[in-house]
């Protein structure tokens, strides 16, 4: 229950992104906007290779999404991606469906929170 109620975003990272320009929020908009685009493609790729059981491809896809998610403060999603990356590195993908479900839950929460922080014009 506490996981469902916790903030999907690391607010200090959001504050950091806001500090990167002269207060216009342009850097935050650019970085989050890019993330919302690339993460949708990354999600499709990760779910596809998880379904296929391709451990090497899962590790790479999860690694990329982990880094990008951390950059925009989506820390809960980054943690799930790190967990998937670890499972893939150890070739432990028996519970691919469970990993995919955890990913989908955090992915939806992160996107909703980010869209609220940096709405697309």
């Amino acid at each position: 229950m506490s996981d469902l109620l916790s903030d999907p975003l690391n607010r200090s990272q959001i504050e950091f992104l806001l500090s990167l320009d002269d207060g216009t929020g342009e850097a935050l908009q650019d970085i989050v906007g890019e993330y919302l685009t690339m993460s949708e493609e990354g999600r499709e790729e990760l779910l596809r290779v998880l379904h296929d059981g391709d451990a090497s491809a899962v590790e790479h896809a999860a690694h990329t999404l982990k880094g990008a998610s951390a950059n925009v403060g989506a820390s809960a999603l980054a943690d799930v991606c790190a967990d998937i990356e670890r499972h893939a590195r150890q070739a432990q993908l028996e519970d691919a469906a469970g990993l995919a479900q955890r990913f989908e839950t955090e992915f939806s929460r992160a996107r909703a929170a980010l869209q609220a922080v940096a709405p697309r014009p």
Binding site: L17, D21, I31, E34, A70, N71
Partner: protein, 149 residues
């Protein structure tokens, strides 16, 4: 300084570009290792901030090519990656990187590395001998010329 950012992941490129620009440096970006190598080969780069995992030429290979190259000036290299295991850090430094940053990066971490980079590039520019170009750690290069007391 003129700083090349090499990363195939777009949010990392944008984040590093924003940080480095705010610190007052000129930035150039490359979306893959081979493009970064082209830019490095044409010269004029003071610092390379490079990801590890990239299509084509990866970060460690980029480090090796820079160190084995014949450019006139020293390129200070910082590997910036999410690979945080000690063996990765050692492999990255062994390939020719001067420093190693684990993502996500923040302004303070980048700023401190660039202070060191600026000092190093100024030192090597004024050094009368051949530039340090081996894959040995930078400190080893200098200790051979400067006996410790």
């Amino acid at each position: 300084m003129r700083i090349l950012i090499a990363d195939d992941e777009p949010t990392s490129r944008l984040l590093l570009k924003a940080i480095v620009s705010k610190l007052g440096h000129e930035t150039i970006v490359a979306e893959e290792g081979s493009r970064a190598w082209d830019l490095l080969s044409s010269g004029g780069i003071d610092v390379l901030l490079t990801d590890w995992m990239m299509p084509g030429i990866d970060g460690p290979e980029l480090c090796r090519r820079v160190r084995e190259g014949t450019g006139d000036s020293y390129v200070y290299i910082v590997l910036t990656t999410g690979l945080d295991h000690p063996e990765h850090v050692l492999e990255g430094m062994g390939s020719g990187a001067d420093d190693y940053l684990i993502k996500p990066v923040d302004s303070f971490a980048v700023q401190t590395r660039l202070i060191a980079a600026e000092r190093m590039t100024e030192l090597t520019a004024s050094w009368p001998g051949p530039r340090p170009s081996s894959r040995e750690p930078t400190s080893t290069c200098w200790s051979s010329h400067s006996p410790t007391t």
